[in-house]
Amino acid sequence: MPIFERRITLPGSERTEPRNAQPIGPVEPEQEVSVTVVLRRKGAEPVMPQPGKLHIHLTREQFKLLHGADPADVAMVEQFAKKYQLTVKGSDLAKRRVILSGTASAMAEAFSTTFVCYHSEITGRDFRARTGMLSIPMELEPFVIAVLGLDTRPVAKPHFRRRSKIAPRAAQGGTFTPPQVAALYNFPAGLTGKGQTIAIIELGGGYNTSDLQTYFGGLGISQPNVTSVSVDGGQNSPGQDADGEVMLDIEVIGAIAYEANIVVYFAPNTDQGFIDAITDAVHDTTNKPSIISISWGAPEDSWTGQSQTAMNSALQDAAALGVTVAVACGDNGSSDGQGDGKLHTDFPACSPYSLACGGTTLAGSGGTISSETVWNEIANNEGATGGGVSTVFALPSYQNSAGVPTQPQTAFAGRGTPDVAGNADPSTGYQIRVDGQNEIVGGTSAVAPLWAALTALLNEKLGSPVGFLNPKLYPLNEAGFHDITSGNNDDGGLGYYSAGPGWDACTGLGSPDGTALLAALTPGTSASASSGD
């Protein structure tokens, strides 16, 4: 019989004091607390499919037997729960977890912690938090990986693409400031975005003006005009992980289109907040943005049908009103990080009304690109561009001749993403400033603001907004683009997708040649008729 007397700390369980929150007192001892105990696998790690090798997918039942939790481990957790007066609410061998519930005081004793109630200055809500390490009885140590849910502080869950600081690999071509990327992409000279307004959608985080001053001062650029708009109670709230996203977006746009007005719409990270923010920006008759930059998304199949419909129709409004919406395609390759053996695109990038932005690995200096390939650093755990074929949205007419394949697993003739691309690999990433630190950041999150900034320059020069770009870009026959033909965004060994001449599901039409794109979009020119590689 286990006695559960000797205890050991649970590795990786350390929590620091919550930021931007005030302690307001102890947690009610009788409050009901529910936690998820995550167990190790019984057998070996599942074999990941390898490119070019035959991979046999397991059934869910086979997976449970081979790679699930050990029933004996679950039984041990049940005994532990009993001793500490916790109730087992459920267990799942395949998912390797046991859900326990009990009073706050019983939980505190079971995991040797204390709870404090905090008030979040950001969300205005109270939450429960703990600090320090958890401990568990020795008997559980071999197989308990994590205990989740004791702490309910608001969590932004960014899969940030900050460049790895631990093991910098041989740099292909170093990292860049946004103006250096703009120079490599031959953005038209003498344009500043003057008279244009660019909206940025943010679902968390914030900016502080002193970082912006330091950053733009360091680049020798006058600080752009940045204002914020609150949607559904969302606020500019620096001090969160998502600050990296907010600062990347503002700094990429502001360093290139530095005379444009930048308006940041802060909304809660819910489907309502996200859709309301887009709707508010599209219909904003005060700021009148002609461009919207969105670097947030989620796999297409994680959305409910109604929110997808509502979001898509808000993006349709943008298109109708001549507002360009640049959207990041995701940073987890052709699986979009779902890990279910299926191919996924990211939404809202895969809306047919979005300018879907994919990612490349860029090397070069001055105005000369020495190489540019599809961003795929999955092997180094540094992501890969999203991209693929939607299983929800049908092939739009502007892609009729683009050579979009049917979705390989469902044969659906869907919308292909991305439309366009740009530098995104963290190892060739962007030098930015976040929360007082200089950092290198990448991700397709950088590509949406890059295209937003380029669009502001085009609008400035053309004298009117280019608006919904997609039907205008596809007939250009690659004029205005560097066609990326090397690399793939395969994740999970499914063999999809590869780059090639013309449109592909990794880099779309390619990365921009800004000056050539301006020429091709200038009315009265026939750049589109015969050019192209």
């Binding site: 969590v155 996203e245 309502q272 309301d276 989620a298 049908g305 409004d317 940073d331």
Partner: protein, 158 residues
Amino acid sequence: MSGPRVVLPGSSLSREGREHWISAADPGQEITATIVLRRRASAAKLGEELLAGTAKPVSREEAGDIGADPQELAAIEKFAESNGLKIAGENAAARTLRVEGAVQQMESAFGVKLAWFEDAEGHRFLSYQGAISIPEGLQGVIVAVLGLDRRPAAQPRC
């Protein structure tokens, strides 16, 4: 507006064990929902025209021309008010109506039971089980009811 009700398409939530129920929502808690309406009939073909690059440009000032039908907007106002919900804002051009009310009123207006849920990462949020329903007379008119499911929707792509 009582009488027969229909399920709002695409509003069904399936949790598949990823999230668990924590507690019922406080019936008196005030929340805000966004109701999204369909486009007026005269602009029903707008989507296809945009994709084909043949749509006529519309200014923000003319956005009402591709917005909601005023009669349909009025019908939804009436529905909301008959359920005790307050109209917190509406925008015919944007096809949105923001309504405020207590959890209890939202539950009766949209035929759901609201509760707190928690996901494996420890996020807690208000949501519902099953699907939203609306009066049969508003079928097709209401495209979405947002704000009754408040799980984190998206991640930053950097």
